[in-house]
Amino acid sequence: MAEIRKTDTLYFESYIPEAISAGGYFSESLVEVLSKLVSNEAKKNVGIGKGPGPHPHRVGSKHIDYGKLRDDITTSQGREGSTYVGTVYTTLLYGMYLEMGWVTKKQNVVRYPWLIPAAFVVWKEDSEKVARDIAKHYFPESDLSIKSSLTANVKHPKRLTGTWKLQKTYRGYTR
């Protein structure tokens, strides 16, 4: 079966010398915590009984919501050069269609983005506090300018991107 892997990448970058020396551990912890928070938020969005129609919660529907997408949402952390990357993804094809939308047989456009909004919620509501807490652990002796720079950098991420990586051939097209 063709498989499409959805990957969202959270980047943290720092140009502060003191941060660079211990920044690896800081960044590693940061993306790990943030990607798990994004995962939890995304799981809420696709919990049982949530989503667009045709859907099990609609009256008369023959479908049963087993929470398959919710249970398939996975996180991973890695490093690309000097960048630490946290990934939240699903390998379920319909997860991608929910996120990006499709046209139904009745030619209605249906979209239910569940992952990118989750990432934005975490960035807006949790990222600054998380970064501050982790910075306290890794930079206990640092001055306030480092901590504020770190949190400012996280508060205004230079890149919060969504990418779709086709892992295998999909109907004759590969990327």
Binding site: W102, T104, K105, T163, W164
Partner: protein, 141 residues
């Protein structure tokens, strides 16, 4: 000037932007927000607004749009997608005139895609790309 002087219909501005572009192929239909009734598969693009942020300190909005490019074949849909890319990236600063007046569009950048897909219900070939752009009714000087 701290904020927009009027409400901008960014979707209308984006449709007008494509129609006005010198590179645009007039045989490609442009639809916004929804597919028209009794749509038959042809070279077309569906523009869907993704929302965005308003910068209260500047007279502009930063808004995203998804462009769903269709064609009778995957190759044709890709050609439509490439045409959109040319129009979006190769003339990043411009202005268009819509019902509310002049809208300035700049700093258009691709944020996602292109992604080749098949519509799961209709099997239509589709390429999708998402762009962000700044919209303003106030010309920067």
């Amino acid at each position: 000037m701290a904020s927009l002087t009027s409400t901008i219909d960014t979707t209308q501005a984006m449709v007008t932007y494509l129609y006005n572009h010198a590179s645009w192929d007039s045989t490609v239909h442009i639809h916004a927000t929804e597919i028209p009734a009794n749509f038959t598969l042809r070279k077309a693009v569906l523009i869907l607004p993704d929302g965005g942020e308003t910068d209260y300190s500047l007279p502009r909005v930063n808004e995203g749009f998804s462009f769903w490019a269709y064609g009778t074949t995957m190759v044709e849909a890709k050609a439509v997608n490439d045409l959109i890319y040319d129009c979006m990236i190769k003339s990043p600063e411009t202005s268009v005139t819509i019902d509310s007046g002049t809208v300035y569009i700049n700093n258009i950048r691709r944020s996602l895609g292109p992604v080749p897909l098949r519509e799961p219900d209709t099997d239509w070939p589709r390429w999708m790309t998402t762009y962000f752009a700044y919209f303003s009714d106030y010309a920067a000087t």
